[in-house]
């Protein structure tokens, strides 16, 4: 399911411009969305989910125009959405909560609903606590409930807004693997701050900066933004002044710094292979001035 976004702008009441002429094509498959805090990722996803009306611009999802009520309804029928600020009814159990959402999603057959919910509780590893009230769930457990509800109606389009925040490393890896397995013939749009999650699951991605498109392409294209710009410097003196220090590790008497910088930050700096994170930082640094 392909998403076509053209010249999308969203200005909130009060004047904050969250999206500013965004044009983007999201193909079928797993797609990453990166961007700093306040870049407009959540705003973009809420518009795609039909929760927010854009100020101007056009969004077509799988041939359905979001500007029309029929278009929004058609998209909602095939949508799984996990909001960033996820909430639940504290007085319902996980199973009952999922049952309610499943009903709203039109899963009317009781037996099919039961089967689907049991299946998903298994997938998100919550079967043991399924009948406990959500009031007592930890943040990570609630996220998993959120993931389960997004998958209820077997969506063709899955929009997940920072789904891995608050998950422990094992759970995070399990979950992102699950997402990329789901992708296949679906579209999964994943926004995150964790660059590694995108590196491990997505072939292509977009980077938002201040409501505009900062980058659109494959993971390796973004990595190559940092080509010949990543260095390690081992020194017992002060940290290199040029460039952006990505990591600092104690080594012997000194420190080993990893630096993203267009020019060598130090005469003894050795070039190293960039990662996606380096590419992202190089992109951000390149845009900043």
């Amino acid at each position: 399911m392909r998403i076509d976004v053209s010249d999308l702008t969203k200005t909130y009441k009060g004047g904050a411009r969250a999206l500013d002429g965004l044009s983007l094509v999201v193909p079928t498959g797993m797609y990453g969305l990166l961007g700093a805090n306040g870049a407009g990722k959540t705003t973009f996803m809420r518009i795609l989910a039909g929760l927010l009306k854009p100020t101007s611009g056009r969004v077509v999802i799988g041939g359905h125009d979001l500007a029309t009520a029929e278009g929004r309804l058609a998209v909602r029928r095939t949508l799984g959405y996990l909001p960033q600020d996820l909430g639940v009814y504290p007085d319902l159990s996980a199973r009952r909560f999922l049952d309610y959402i499943a009903l709203l999603k039109g899963l009317h057959s009781r037996s099919a609903r039961r089967r689907r919910i049991a299946e998903l509780l298994e997938v998100v590893a919550l079967s043991d606590v399924a009948d406990r009230r959500l009031k007592g769930f930890s943040g990570g457990m609630l996220r998993r409930v959120g993931i389960a509800q997004a998958l209820l109606a077997d969506p063709r389009l899955l929009i997940v807004d920072e789904p891995t925040t608050g998950l422990d490393p094992e759970e995070r890896i399990r979950f992102r693997t699950l997402l990329s397995q789901l992708a296949g013939d679906r579209t999964v749009l994943l926004s995150t701050h964790i660059v590694d999650d995108v590196a491990q699951t997505c072939r292509s991605l977009a980077v938002l900066g201040h409501g505009r498109l900062a980058f659109q392409g494959t993971v390796s294209e973004l990595v190559s933004q940092a080509h010949r710009q990543v260095w390690t410097v081992t020194t017992s003196g002060p940290a290199p002044a040029a460039g952006r220090v990505v990591s600092a590790l104690p080594e012997g008497a000194g420190m080993r710094y990893r630096v993203v910088s267009a020019a060598p930050p130090d005469p003894y700096a050795r070039p190293v292979e960039p990662t996606l994170e380096d590419g992202y930082l190089a992109l951000m640094d390149g845009r900043a001035p």
């Binding site: 039909g50 909602r76 029928r77 949508l79």
Partner: protein, 260 residues
């Protein structure tokens, strides 16, 4: 709509505070308002139709206050709990969900009230040995209590659109006494008009005789107080339902205007 009705009903019914507050007010009703004796000195207590009318009159004096107050925080609940994103992203219609929620929440909030009323009717059957009281209780509840609850429910449901729930509750209690309980001669009031939710138009227009000398003193807004007849009883039922529908449409309108 059915899904929201079912789940909102279940969630509201399981609120402990619902039962506690109703319990306290019913205790007041029994001890202070003659709910035990049903004898207000107007009718023979041994006549089941009249006794059930008196029981209804006592019930609607205080319990709708609890009903309204317990409803007042339900509308913004999804937003407060931040489940609105998930619900709005489903293909269910917003209007259907709103109506389902209104019906479910009102029905759940009316359950303790109905238990208090029908419990009294059962007690009456055992004490007086007149099973017909149950039939009269059902008729009186449906015709004279329910329409009032339909309207007051919509009002309290919509209240938090204008005011924070706590402020609304205070005003709601004031409204209840001013617009439904106080005598019409005291000050300009909606009491005893067709806009009052106490159901006396049905009780005196359809069910029991008008108490002698009742409502004779002239008062401001008397043009809203036609005589008690079967026609005005039906008029009152119509007014209650129309007001509820109007309030709910305003809620829906407000919601679609703030969708952005």
């Amino acid at each position: 709509m059915i899904a929201s009705l079912r789940y909102e009903f279940a969630m509201q019914l399981r609120r402990p505070s619902l039962w506690i507050v109703y319990g306290l007010v019913v205790a007041v009703m029994v001890t202070v308002l003659d709910y035990w004796s049903l004898d207000l000195g107007v009718y023979e207590v041994s006549a089941p139709k009249e006794a059930m009318g008196v029981a209804a009159q006592i019930v609607v004096t205080l319990l709708p206050i609890v009903y309204g107050c317990m409803l007042a925080d339900r509308l913004p609940r999804e937003r407060v709990l931040r489940v609105d994103g998930i619900l709005d992203a489903t293909p269910s219609g917003r209007t259907a969900r709103l109506i389902g929620k209104y019906a479910g929440v009102c029905a759940a909030t009316a359950v303790p009230l109905a238990i208090a009323y029908f419990g009294r009717a059962l007690l009456y059957v055992f004490v007086e040995g007149q099973p017909s009281a149950l039939g009269w209780a059902a008729v009186t509840f449906l015709a004279s209590i329910l329409p009032g609850l339909v309207f007051v429910g919509a009002l309290a449901f919509a209240g938090p659109l204008l005011l924070p729930p706590m402020v609304f509750r205070v005003l709601f209690v004031a409204y209840w006494f001013w617009g439904n309980v106080i005598p019409a001669s005291l000050m300009p009031t909606l009491s005893h008009t067709v806009f009052s939710a106490t159901g006396e138009y049905v009780r005196y227009g359809l069910l029991t005789p008008i108490p002698p000398g009742y409502g004779r003193a002239s008062a401001v807004l008397d043009f809203l107080r036609p005589g008690y007849t079967p026609a005005t009883a039906w008029l009152w039922i119509g007014v209650m339902i129309a007001l509820a529908a109007a309030v709910l449409s305003l809620v829906r309108l407000h919601a679609s205007r703030s969708e952005s």
